[in-house]
């Protein structure tokens, strides 16, 4: 019960921070409106999926350094297959890419379970493997994306009967929310989700309570793989091409997961917190750009936010331990 209150308190705090930032953005840039929210939403989509993937693995007590590389594999696969693909074929391609993500995640998980090598080392090695795979599939950025798929995240939601200007909810945001609902449901409302939390919190206790540790870990990694697949798809959807070199999603997802209140030791936190954290981090970046701050200074600010947050969190945790 206490944990539930704490967790929701953290998410509520993040939401307040997000609202403050949105107000600050409006003050910095009085024109900030539908198009601003739209570009914020579109820029956040791949980060949101990468972060959700990382969050699930971290909750299960692991860490997956290969998420950005898996996204690259999914992105290039989708872009390559979608060249000249019809609308119907695209549905098949999407399913195929998500299955590919699940397969890659399952391989990661199986390697962790079978070799008994620490997660961080296994996924470090798999990072090279997936990077290589992406390069083999597509050597240079190219490919295409089907238009109706791209339309899913481009632009704002138009509600019939309302004028175009009044609809400020970006489609990308709706897309992320719809895609993440099943994962939220799995993590918080099913036995599998409970097992994932149990394995991450205390593997020995979980084992003695009859939770199949190995299988649960592999499933957690596969879920992350599906999310990485969605992330890769969204990359192709927003750019229209496939990019074989992984983007900066590894670092960003780890910092969003930490900021979102997920403990790196596993078993604590949720998916909503990290997603809110993604929007906060993206919004900070956008605000700094709006204030015409050097983008490199933006990197410093982002890093400082991350470090200060984790240091404060660490201090608070220590205070709690020594009452």
């Amino acid at each position: 019960m206490m944990r539930l209150v704490q967790r929701n308190g953290w998410v509520a705090g993040l939401l307040v921070l997000l609202i403050i930032l949105l107000i600050a953005t409006k003050i910095i840039q009085p024109d900030f409106g539908a198009s601003g929210v739209e570009s914020l939403g579109r820029a956040s989509v791949p980060f949101a999926f990468a972060t959700a993937a990382m969050a699930i693995v971290v909750i299960a007590g692991g860490i997956d350094l290969s998420i950005a590389a898996m996204m690259a594999v999914c992105s290039v696969t989708a872009a390559r297959l979608m060249v000249g693909a019809g609308d119907g074929e695209t549905v098949l391609i999407v399913i195929l890419v998500l299955a590919l993500g699940a397969l890659m995640g399952a391989i990661n998980g199986a390697m962790v379970v079978l070799t008994r090598v620490p997660d961080i080392v296994v996924t470090l090695a798999m990072l090279f493997v997936w990077e290589g795979t992406a390069l083999l599939i597509l050597n240079t950025p190219s490919g295409a994306a089907t238009q109706w798929l791209r339309d899913l995240i481009l632009g704002s939601l138009s509600i019939p009967g309302l004028p175009e200007r009044a609809t400020f909810i970006p489609k990308s945001l709706v897309f992320v929310v719809i895609c993440l609902i099943p994962f939220w449901f799995i993590m918080h409302r099913t036995k599998l989700g409970l097992s994932i939390y149990a394995v991450g919190g205390d593997p020995v206790a979980a084992f003695r309570s009859g939770v199949p540790i190995g299988r649960t870990r592999i499933i957690a990694y596969s879920l992350a793989g599906v999310l990485a697949g969605l992330g890769g798809l969204s990359l192709t959807m927003s750019t229209g091409i496939g990019e074989p070199i992984p983007g900066p999603y590894l670092l960003a997802s780890v910092s969003a997961v930490v900021l979102g209140g997920v403990a790196l030791s596993g078993g604590k936190g949720g998916i909503i917190g990290p997603i809110v954290a993604v929007f906060i981090l993206r919004l900070v970046r956008m605000d700094l750009t709006l204030m015409s701050v050097d983008p490199n200074v933006t990197t410093i600010v982002e890093g400082t936010i991350m470090v200060v947050v984790v240091m404060l969190g660490g201090m608070l945790a220590m205070k709690g331990r020594r009452p």
Partner: protein, 322 residues
Amino acid sequence: MTTTVSTGQRIGRFLRDNPLIPLILLLLVLVAILEIRQPGIVNERWVGNTIKFAIPLAMLAACQTLTMYTGGIDLSASVVATIVAFVMATQVPVIGVVPGILLAMVPAVLIGLLNGFGVGICGVHPLIMTLGTGLIGTGFLQVYQRTVIASGSVVPESLQWLGTGRTFGAPNALVLFIPFAIAILFIQNRTGFGRLLYALGSNEKAARLSGVRSWQVYLALYTLSGLIAGVTGLLYVGLIKAPSLSLVEPLMLPSVAAAVIGGTSIFGGRGSYSGTIIGALILTVLGTMLTLLQMPEGGRRILFGAIILALTAIYLRITDQD
């Protein structure tokens, strides 16, 4: 019957007591494969080159090895090395060689202290802390680059001599590396500081209760790691001769891999720097082999990842048979 030990178990036990032997055997096997595939390649010159390229990797891997003893990791090491190399190369034309090098080491110490502060005093997970400071360091480096774009860069002769030169066929970098390796081995085996690192890694609570002021150890450890990374940067820029903003980045993941292949436990409390040195040599030979295979870049990366994973898994099986 109960006292008979099977040959397999006996070999396993022997290897567990001497974890360096399988590593050296593996290194020799890799060299042999290379010689079979490309007869005549293994000569004095090749050995010198391999050692030359393995040394910066082994030095950067020292950061990972030492921090891993306490169950940590230093992902900011490559950024620190790059910063030191870049600041040094751009400051030398302005203020001279020795002041330039000294000035360049300042950010290394600062980042090290910050890491130590975060890990030791705030109790932040080292992975996150060093990832964050690495990000901050990269940002500062990019901003700094804007301010020195006009001044150009110089890699001092002395560093080039150290990085690329050879004396009687042996790379000059050994002049730096042999004392360095002896110092690290001395620290880990013969000093109280070294023992404290292992103690904190095996059981931090027990170490604390025995009166270890862990924050002092962490502060010293991460500062030392920053210093080592800085020196690595100086050596590496002497080898590559062209400072850039991502100079040492390609060594980052291999440095973690070298420490892990060398038998250092990422969870702390176990390992030795001698294993890391062999690990760095293995990775360098592996790199040569993959280059010679004339595969596409993608295929090489896949093989590299697969081999690292396989080696680590096999090594863990051999040395952890209980």
